[in-house]
């Protein structure tokens, strides 16, 4: 059954919590949070997050959909899994952050967030070649900010690229690709289709 994303006229939508529980990966565990702060306190870049996972979960309970999906916190996660292993209630915080980011991306929130671009180009590369190209993904990502910004960011990394190439750690030439790109594409399309049916 497809449950539409709740769109309530109210600012605080008490059904949002349940919707997240049923529709976001790991959302069933979100409710186990007891607001202790271990996750945000453990986060290596907790200071960079506006809200941090704990507060996000509380906002979800309070039904603050807009604020949750437009929070920068979901995009800052480094996936270090410190919060996951420390969480006294077994909440898979990292997965939830990724899930919320995916949701925000899908729902059209936070289009200007850098990580969103990065993950999009990353996925593009995977879809096309079956592999991540360490050259192309960052470059595409850099240029996603516009031509000037792209050149600036690329130049900033030029020395790194040079060093890497010198050490033989930068692949030169056409991107690596898997043999069965067609099969992979079909698999991913099917998976995306199944996923769409769910939500």
């Amino acid at each position: 059954m497809t449950v539409p994303m709740p769109t309530s006229s109210r600012k605080y939508d008490l059904n949002f919590a349940r919707w997240v529980r049923d529709n976001v990966a790991g959302g069933d565990k979100m409710n186990m949070c007891m607001q202790c702060g271990t996750c945000s306190g453990s986060c290596p870049i907790g200071t960079e997050m506006e809200d941090g996972p704990r507060k996000l979960f509380m906002m979800i309970r309070a039904g603050m959909k807009e604020e949750v999906l437009s929070s920068n916190s979901v995009w800052e996660c480094t996936s270090c899994y410190r919060c996951v292993v420390r969480c006294p209630r077994g909440v898979p915080v990292t997965y939830l952050m990724q899930g919320l980011a995916a949701l925000a991306s899908k729902e059209g929130y936070a289009p200007k967030v850098e990580n969103n671009y990065f993950s999009r180009y990353f996925w593009k590369s995977v879809e096309l070649t079956g592999k991540t190209d360490e050259r192309l993904v960052p470059t595409a990502y850099f240029f996603s900010f516009g031509l000037i910004e792209g050149i600036k960011r690329s130049l900033g990394n030029l020395k790194i690229a040079f060093n890497m190439a010198k050490a033989g750690r930068m692949h030169i030439g056409l991107p690596h690709r898997i043999k069965d790109t067609k099969g992979l594409k079909a698999i991913l399309a099917k998976a995306a289709q199944i996923e769409d049916q769910k939500s």
């Binding site: 202790c36 702060g37 271990t38 996750c39 945000s40 306190g41 453990s42 507060k55 420390r86 006294p88």
Partner: protein, 621 residues
């Protein structure tokens, strides 16, 4: 990651907490002041004179008895005069006081006062009768004269017709008919009593076994024994008292555990139904309710039962071992009395000594021959009808809390170690000092739920830790008026009556409460522990705070291992707590923390209940 705003929040919060603090108020006077307030008897200025007079009487009385007949007349006359003077003075004082006390002057005020009046009457009567008695006991036969001598100054004490007197009479008077009813009921009751006593005192040959001699085990054992049943109490350690004997004080009264233990030990010493076996563990249980066979193993003490505690053995050696009583925070002689309050007060020798020169020195030092170097562990079998598991708890292993760096800093300790630091018989003689350098800590953090309420460690709440930390804050604040204590918590779980203790500690402006479970602790460049986390209230803040001393409020794990090879093992929940036998009725019961994470009040409560259940089991109910 310095977050200066954080401290500001602290200070603001502290001020809020202390909003009701009025600095011009003085501490309530200790006992005198309080009694004056609360006890009507003492609530009169005339009381002063009553006491004064009492001292007189006491001191004179014997003088009369000693004095010869000849001196008596004079002595007595003098006494009488003094008594009269004192009485008059008291009356005057009383009158003055009464005026002050009843400005309302309502008619009911009269009935408010009889206590006072009566007191005075009694006071006078006392003088009269004491004198009469003194005189008559010496065969003076002056009773007539005596009563007339004092009667003039005293109202009639026996004037019971007075209604005010009646009101004051504590014991309501029954009519003759009512008395007859009561007496008939009493007489009738006596007839049925023999039958009842047979049922209640039904003899049983079965013994109750209590495993574990901490506060719960001691309580269960002595309560059952004082009810008239045979009890064997096993304790793994060389002394009774378990965990609580290593606590400095109890919350919320902040009194010493040894105080209640001493009473219990006195009870044990005077009870013939109870047999205590120390250094003994259960290694096997088989059979069923009413007929359990319990295999026990007693470790060698190397000092036999006859030890009289003289200590000459200990004086004979210099070798030391880790002091288990102080959680290894210091050393103790290899043959020792584990602590000053150890019961039984008998020495114990470390097995490490066996085979060394010290062993011979020790043997030689004990002139009464109570050292047995050949002692070995002995096995035994007990036949018992019911078993009470009072095996208590073990502090959760702080080393497992890797993110709190317990093993990386001497100044990160746990709550049981804090108890020892604060105990007069602890490694620092009760002075709370930083273990790293022995200096006084100025800033102390306490971290709640260190390993509790955590599915990676102990999923349950250990119940005691919040209150223990509040108590630890009190220890610190008493010793260091300038020190600041920060308590990091998820929820402060001060249950039922204990919540007023929390409310009161909160009023200390230098005890701060931060709703945050810290993420981790690192060691700063200056060697001080640095706590990292998120303050969860309001505008969340990520903090890094340095402390001189960090106390991890670790929780309790049941000591009885979850897996035992007992044939008839007690039923257990998933954490290893013994499930009380009330449902399965297998004659095995839990007392204290063996049955769940409890504080001392609940441990003694459950222990008393377990004694009843065990008695029912051995009675065959």
């Amino acid at each position: 990651m310095q977050t200066p705003g954080f401290l500001g929040t602290f200070i603001k919060k502290s001020e809020d907490l202390n909003i009701r603090k009025f600095t011009d108020m003085k501490i309530c006077a200790m006992s005198g002041g309080k009694n004056t307030k609360t006890d009507p008897l003492y609530n009169q200025s005339a009381r002063y004179w009553v006491w004064q007079f009492e001292v007189w009487i006491t001191m004179r009385m014997e003088a009369f008895c000693m004095a010869g007949d000849d001196d008596l007349e004079d002595e007595f006359a003098a006494f009488e005069r003094e008594a009269k003077e004192a009485a008059a003075k008291a009356q005057e004082e009383m009158a003055k006081n009464a005026k002050k006390a009843e400005p309302a002057a309502e008619p009911v005020a009269a009935s408010d006062e009889p206590e006072e009046e009566d007191e005075f009457a009694a006071f006078e009567r006392e003088a009269r009768e004491a004198a009469a008695a003194a005189a008559s006991s010496m065969g003076g036969g002056a009773s007539g004269g005596t009563s007339s001598a004092t009667a003039s100054s005293a109202p009639k004490a026996d004037d019971k017709a007075d209604e005010e007197e009646e009101d004051d009479t504590p014991v309501g008077v029954l009519s003759d008919a009512e008395k007859a009813e009561r007496d008939a009921a009493q007489a009738a009751a006596v007839k049925t009593i023999n039958k009842a006593s047979k049922a209640l005192f039904g003899a049983t040959s079965q013994t109750i076994l209590v495993v574990g001699g901490g506060i719960a085990g001691v309580t269960a054992a002595i309560e059952a024994a004082e009810t008239g049943y045979d009890v064997i109490l096993l304790e793994k350690n060389s002394y009774l008292g378990g965990r609580v004997t290593r606590l400095n004080r109890y919350f919320p009264k902040l009194c010493h555990p040894s105080c209640g233990l001493e009473i219990n030990y006195q009870r044990i010493k005077n009870n013939r139904n109870l047999k205590v076996m120390t250094m003994t563990e259960v290694v096997g249980v088989s059979g069923a309710k009413g007929d359990y066979k319990v295999k026990i193993k007693t470790a060698p003490r190397f000092i036999d039962e006859g030890c009289n505690g003289c200590g000459s053995c200990s004086n004979a050696v210099e070798t030391t071992v880790d002091n288990e009583y102080n959680y290894g925070m210091d050393q103790i002689k290899a043959v020792n009395l584990p602590h000053e309050h150890a019961f039984p007060m008998k020495y114990v020798m470390s097995p490490d000594v066996i085979g060394t020169d010290d062993a011979d020195k020790i043997k030689e030092a004990c002139t009464s021959g109570h050292v047995d170097l050949e002692a070995t562990a002995t096995d035994g079998d007990l036949s018992v009808g019911a078993i009470i598991w009072a095996t208590g708890w073990t502090p959760y292993d702080s080393n497992k809390l890797e993110h709190y760096s317990y093993s990386h800093s001497a100044d990160i300790i746990n709550n049981v170690e804090m108890e020892r630091l604060a105990s007069p018989d602890g490694p620092t003689n009760g002075k709370i000092l930083k273990p790293s350098d022995g200096k006084e800590p100025k800033r102390i953090a306490m971290i709640q739920c260190a390993g509790s309420r955590d599915i990676n460690h102990l999923p349950y709440c250990s119940m005691i830790c919040c209150l223990a930390s509040l108590k630890h804050a009190a220890y610190v604040r008493e010793q260091y008026p300038d020190a600041e204590v920060d308590i990091y918590y998820i929820d402060i779980r001060a249950h039922d009556k204990m919540s007023s203790f929390y409310e009161r500690v909160k009023r200390d402006a230098k005890v701060n409460f931060i709703k945050s479970k810290p993420g981790h602790i690192t060691i700063g460049a200056d060697g001080r522990p640095l706590i990292h986390g998120e303050n969860t209230i309001g505008d969340r803040e990520i903090y890094d705070e340095a402390y001189d001393l960090v106390v991890l409020a670790t929780g309790m794990e049941p000591s009885l291992p979850l897996e035992t090879d007992f044939e008839a093992a007690p039923e257990r929940d998933e954490y290893g707590f013994v499930i009380n036998g009330s449902d399965s009725d297998n004659g095995q019961f839990a007392a204290g923390v063996a049955g769940g994470p409890f504080d001392v009040a609940l441990s003694t409560q459950t222990a008393t209940a377990s004694a009843l259940k065990a008695i029912q089991a051995v009675r065959g109910n």
